[in-house]
């Protein structure tokens, strides 16, 4: 395998791992669900996407590489939607915000 290609793959894996780690740290450390979600959706879109990208570079244009690219597309469609839905659900079931943040269109009052 070409050395540069291997280096690119390795770099992408490192980047992906970093985002996974960061997302998990955020998941553990942030004060409420909205903040945690903010951290983990980075892990999903950037972290997992880097991994997929690494796969795409590694496998080249056919087979596993193509699948990896499709996977990136999927992740970018579904991960934000999932985050959106779950934050909406959290808001509607009345999970309070940390600090003085507010839902757009509502003036600092929690729940509806």
């Amino acid at each position: 395998m070409h050395l540069i290609r291997a280096a690119v793959v390795a770099a992408l894996v490192v980047v992906g791992s970093f985002f996974l780690l960061a997302g998990t740290v955020g998941l553990l450390r942030f004060p409420d669900v909205y903040n945690r979600m903010h951290a983990t959706s980075k892990a999903t879109t950037l972290g997992a996407a880097s991994m997929f990208l690494a796969g795409a570079v590694y496998f080249g244009p056919g087979g596993g590489g193509l699948t990896s690219l499709v996977g990136i597309v999927f992740l970018f469609i579904t991960a934000p939607t999932g985050a959106h839905t779950i934050s909406q659900a959290a808001h509607r079931m009345g999970v309070p915000f940390h600090g003085d943040a507010a839902w757009p269109g509502e003036d600092g009052e929690n729940g509806d």
Binding site: A10, G16, S17, A48, F59, I86, A90
Partner: protein, 96 residues
């Protein structure tokens, strides 16, 4: 494709695998402790992300492209459960 990986790449991939499976432990903590259901869902999503990463890394390590499929399917499927739980906690019923 199943050629021998260069030493540094093998090391990185192995490290990535360890990391991806290791952080599931902490995400698991969030699933278990909550405190709210959305917290658990978010944490579970993170675990799913880690599984995607593991699948891709295993694909690279073994040189078998079809392991990527596992990640692909998970990327689609994880979304379904997130939406289902979201609906459940707000409506109490996921299909009307």
């Amino acid at each position: 494709m199943a050629t021998e990986l260069p030493g540094f790449l093998a090391l990185v991939v192995q490290g990535g695998l360890l990391l991806a499976s290791g952080v599931t432990l902490f995400a698991g903590y969030r699933v278990i402790r909550g405190p709210t259901t959305p917290d658990r869902v978010v944490a579970l999503d993170t675990i799913g992300t880690n599984v995607v990463a593991v699948a891709v890394l295993v694909a690279i390590r073994t040189g078998r492209g079809f392991f990527v499929d596992v990640g692909l399917v998970l990327a689609i499927i994880g979304f379904v459960s997130t939406i289902a739980v979201a609906r459940y906690v707000t409506e109490g019923d996921i299909i009307e």
